[in-house]
Point group: C2
């Protein structure tokens, strides 16, 4: 067990089926789960200040190692004191390895057993992403939780392709873990850019493995077992879902993972989701989520409400004095009405984007808070059924 695990712990209570309340302790504080992690791809939740994210109920942020490696550079972030000091987010943080971005954004991609070579989507420069390199990057960036490099394939890939990628991801996990531990023992490489006093010792971090296997139950099981055979983890992620598969397939895979994964560690469902996806995930034992939807949709004027999505640009809102959601305690709903928000969008005023993104982030955080309350009160089954019926009704 890597020594850094002592900085991370998880306890749970109030189980209702697979759902539970949890407390995930990290070097930067505790996360009450189930929790949604707002996405700060470039070290910023798009459009929002860190104070706003905190006030909107954000507990733990996700940043992206691919983007930060390319700009401003992992060495630069390290020289500036690490991701927390750089962004002024003092709470828990996680970096995704950027594997997804390498497979979706980068150009001229070549995947071998060694790793991935690709051209930057920013300037066309060539880069190599190996498990070892990714660990060095994520160790430099310095988030609390760092993700392994895994191989991504199309969401609905055939069994053979899914199997090969899943098995390679396990081999890459081994290499990630070796390099993660080596850096923990031997320290990080000295920086070459003379940015001042250098701290060779990485901060306490933990490495999360990622269950892969597409929509094939047998592969998901094999992946989970392979991960658990490799030792102890402070948390386990489930990847490669919410990439186009049908909802029943997503739910089936979550149920397979739920049965395989130990309940003593948090389970993190990557890239999910929408309001109903969060509740379906909690029901199936998921503790952590992340998704760009609240900010991306917010920029388009799409608003999460308990009755489904609402488009604030619609002309019917021209004279609508109601907040986006009655009773919502977010800074947008506390202050502004739909008529004004629609005007901001019609006038291309960025405050509109900000306010709807803020509402959407607060809304997802609010669902998770309400789910925790319902679990504590022993009312989760009813609460979640009612919530989903209203949202989908």
């Amino acid at each position: 067990m890597p020594s850094t695990h002592t900085e991370f712990s998880f306890r749970t209570a109030h189980d209702c089926g697979s759902a539970r309340v949890g407390w995930f302790t990290t070097p930067h504080g505790e996360v009450e789960t189930p929790a949604f992690m707002p996405v700060a791809t470039h070290g910023v939740v798009r459009g929002l200040s860190m104070e706003e994210v905190r006030a909107a109920g954000g507990q733990m942020l996700l940043a992206n190692a691919y983007h930060l490696y390319l700009r401003p550079g992992d060495m630069m972030i390290r020289a500036l004191g690490g991701l927390h000091a750089f962004t002024r987010w003092n709470g828990p943080m996680l970096t995704d390895s950027g594997g997804f971005q390498v497979f979706s954004l980068a150009k001229l991609r070549t995947v071998t057993e060694e790793g991935v070579t690709f051209r930057s989507h920013l300037d066309g420069s060539m880069h190599e992403y190996t498990p070892e390199h990714v660990m060095r990057i994520e160790r430099n960036i310095g988030a609390d939780v760092i993700m392994q490099l895994d191989e991504l394939i199309a969401g609905q890939a055939e069994f053979a392709d899914s199997c090969a990628a899943m098995e390679r991801s396990l081999r890459w996990l081994d290499r990630c873990r070796v390099e993660f531990d080596r850096i923990g023992r031997e320290g990080r490489a000295p920086t070459a850019d003379h940015l001042g006093a250098d701290d060779l010792a990485p901060p306490p971090q933990t490495l999360f493995p990622i269950v892969q296997g597409g929509i094939h139950a047998e592969l998901r099981r094999a992946s989970a077992r392979g991960i658990l055979e490799r030792g102890d983890w402070a948390g386990v992620a489930i990847g490669g879902l919410s990439v186009g598969e049908a909802k029943p397939d997503l739910h089936a895979m979550l149920e397979v993972c739920d049965a395989e994964l130990p309940r003593r560690v948090p389970r993190y469902l990557m890239g999910v989701g929408f309001p109903d996806d969060l509740i379906e995930g909690v029901r199936r034992g998921i503790d952590l989520f992340d998704c760009v939807a609240p900010t991306r949709m917010g920029r388009d004027g799409t608003v999460f409400t308990p009755d489904g999505k609402v488009q604030v640009r619609k002309s019917s809102h021209r004279t609508d004095r109601r907040p986006l959601v009655e009773g919502c305690d977010c800074a947008c709903c506390a202050q502004y009405d739909r008529a004004y928000l629609r005007h901001l969008f019609a006038s291309d005023e960025m405050l509109g984007l900000r306010l709807v993104a803020l509402h959407n982030v607060a809304f997802l955080n609010g669902i998770m808070r309400d789910a925790r309350r319902a679990l504590v009160a022993g009312e989760f089954a009813t609460w979640s059924a009612d919530w989903l019926a209203r949202y989908r009704g």
Copy 2:
């Protein structure tokens, strides 16, 4: 004297030459002058929430009748409770007539003695802007201070053109005043769009005349005298400056106006300015300013500092852990450093624009606050000389 003047008053103290501290009372509260008015063209200070503007020291906002007339419409704003209710800014507000926008943005403009006809820059629709129509629009929008319609010409126009426009602006002032008073007595026109209970009585407002005359001292004097002959005003604006003329010309015109205008009313210098322009204006007896510079430049990454302008995008800021301005108490400087702000701009993250705009607004408000303090302390002459020397040094 229109009855609404009783809702407006101005008292001054701590004179230093032409400079003074003032308190401008409006139906929505008091403005301590000299004061910079952040510009909320579409009813929003670009990128900033009203809470942020307030926290950055904003006292009185300026919105634009041309833009709001076109979108969402003055009748719509009235139906939504007026500009204060619409925008959630509870403090004093002013609307510019939009004359400047008609002369700079609108297409196929035709100016006659009756008024201006033009095509909307948004959808090409035809509109007519007469003094009477502008009064109806500004009465519907409902700001505390509303500006007359004036005729704008090129900043460096010849004497004859400047004279003709100045004289027409006086005739339009007469028509504005007649219509302003008529609406005060008879009420506003009923709305046609059935948006609910209608309030025919306009809120208490006051009409500011605008001194014109280009860079011709004789015309400025004639304009000021023409305005004052027409009766009593709760404040007087100076327009048509900071449109390309040389700084000495600007300063000379301010000195001419300073000598002509009564000291018992606030003087508002329209469209000015930059940090040094504010101080030069205060020295010459100006009490109120507005300018889009802090937000427009902020969007480009240009930062106001006591040592002049700084471009936050510069690569020298990559590793700069300093705030934009040491000791600045704005929300940007209190929290974020230049390295992070540069990263936000490099990554096209709108939080960067927001934060620099916020800093710039706070910076101009801070200059005005410091000017007031220096006046109260009897140190304005030294303070302003030192401030300008450092800024320009």
